[in-house]
């Protein structure tokens, strides 16, 4: 009987948490839409833009650079043996813009910014600062969550673009400068294979990743349990949940985009 009661209690808790998450997300989206045209709201968003962009750009650039370097080093011998070294640009840039760029930039953001957002809001929660907003007749979701959410949503795409760019340059450096692949054919093949569609799919993914990171990180901080342990646990949960959601979104967007492309333009062979 106690086991049944335990399962029941856990189910009720899970349903309540699910409802709370969607209520939180709904309120956040409603305030985001309402505040977008307001100058005063953008004054709250701009410092968050600085925090998210400034804190993450160096990490994102380093990530992009090493992804490009590793892809080029790994691909060169294989493509050379098949006399396809001119196609190196296709492999490096397509992998970057469609998959590794958005996913790795998203993961780095989840770790670098997501953790910081959860810790900041979690600390505000345990020191009653969130209640202080409420008792002054201000909605903490509007004042604290919406600026952070918008910064994550809008800047992840831009940061992913920089990650892609850095990876592309570093991949070109290994292929053309170090391995002496001819520069003209390298870029010609790349331009032939990569379409705006591919870049667009990558950027749409990163936009969704940014939204997911912002929502999950703020939610976890907002409802973290009291004490230092509660904040620490919320940070860990926030990163793990963001990482898993990034992978899930990646799979579904990739599947959907591939199906849509086939339906519109047919199958496109890369070689």
């Amino acid at each position: 009987m106690s086991m049944v009661a335990g399962v029941g209690a856990k189910t009720v808790q899970a349903v309540l948490a699910f409802g709370r998450f969607w209520s939180f997300g709904g309120s956040m989206l409603m305030w985001s839409a309402a505040d977008l045209p307001r100058y005063r709201a953008w004054r709250r968003v701009m410092p968050q833009f600085y925090e998210v962009g400034n804190r993450t750009l160096p990490v994102i650039l380093v990530t992009g650079m090493f992804v490009g370097l590793v892809l080029a080093v790994q691909a060169y011998d294989q493509l050379l043996s098949a006399r396809l070294e001119e196609h190196m640009g296709v492999l490096i840039n397509l992998t970057l813009v469609k998959e590794l760029g958005p996913v790795l930039a998203g993961v780095m953001l989840a770790g670098r910014i997501g953790g910081a957002l959860t810790a900041e809001l979690g600390t505000m929660n345990v020191t009653e600062q969130l209640d202080a907003y409420r008792v002054m007749g201000a909605d903490p979701i509007r004042h604290l969550v919406v600026p952070r959410f918008l910064a994550c949503l809008l800047l992840t795409t831009l940061l992913t673009f920089f990650c892609d760019l850095m990876g592309s340059v570093s991949g070109w450096f290994i292929a053309v400068i170090v391995k002496h692949v001819p520069n003209g054919p390298y870029w010609y093949r790349t331009a032939e294979a990569i379409e705006f569609w591919d870049v667009g799919v990558g950027l749409v993914k990163s936009f969704l990743f940014g939204g997911a990171i912002g929502t999950i990180s703020c939610y976890k901080g907002f409802y973290c349990k009291p004490g230092a342990e509660g904040v620490g646990k919320a940070c860990t949960e926030s990163f793990v949940a963001s990482f898993i959601v990034i992978l899930i979104i990646d799979f579904f967007v990739a599947t959907f985009a591939m199906g849509l492309y086939k339906a519109l333009y047919g199958f496109k062979p890369l070689l």
Partner: protein, 257 residues
Amino acid sequence: MPVIRLCDVHKSFGRLDVLKGVDVDLRPGETTVVIGESGAGKSVILKHIVGLIRPDRGSVHFRGQRVDTIGEREWAKLRTRFGFLFQLGALFDSLTVGQNVAFPIVEHGTYSKGEIEKIVADKLRMVGLDGIQSKRPVELSGGQRKRVALARAIALDPEVVLYDEPTTGLDPVRADVINELILKLKRELRVTGIVVTHDLASARKVGDRIIMLHGGKFVFDGSPQALDRCRDERVRRFVEGRASQEDLRSLQNRGGS
């Protein structure tokens, strides 16, 4: 008519029944002090009054209007008539002292920048801290943080100010400064005050009326003088700072095991 009325308020957190039928009327212009042991549910009562917590059963009324059933949007307007001093101040770390005090004014008023600066200076002067507008909360001492939080709580000239453990964590001198401030606010702004504390010196000094919460219900309601005359064992033990036989037995059992 009472400013605030709590009728048969019950509240549980999980299996813990914190309030078991609390009834009280808080009269205008009076400072009511709620005393009781740590964990008795004193702060829970304050949070019911400003709608941060809703009762499981019973009702909360403000100036004759039932408020425990109203929505968050209505509460947002209504809360401008309350000031709340949190136990740790709850100042916003990312804002300066001036911005903290100005926050409710900017949020709810339509004042010019100059007018806001003047109101902020007035409120800080009232708590004896004018001139520190550009400082950050981390640069302040515990007592200063509470005074700034008090300046923020009265920024909109509220009708009711709720004080959650205003003197906890302060030395006796700083605690007395806060007590004097509570009396000054009552005198100058004629606010209705509700103070939650377990500091009896503070309760006796600022309270027109003291009520004691024990086991989820009020077990004493009277003047500070009546508190000293009360013969109820639970009240006497709290006033004299005496552990119960049950507490002592539990310590002995643990010591022996």
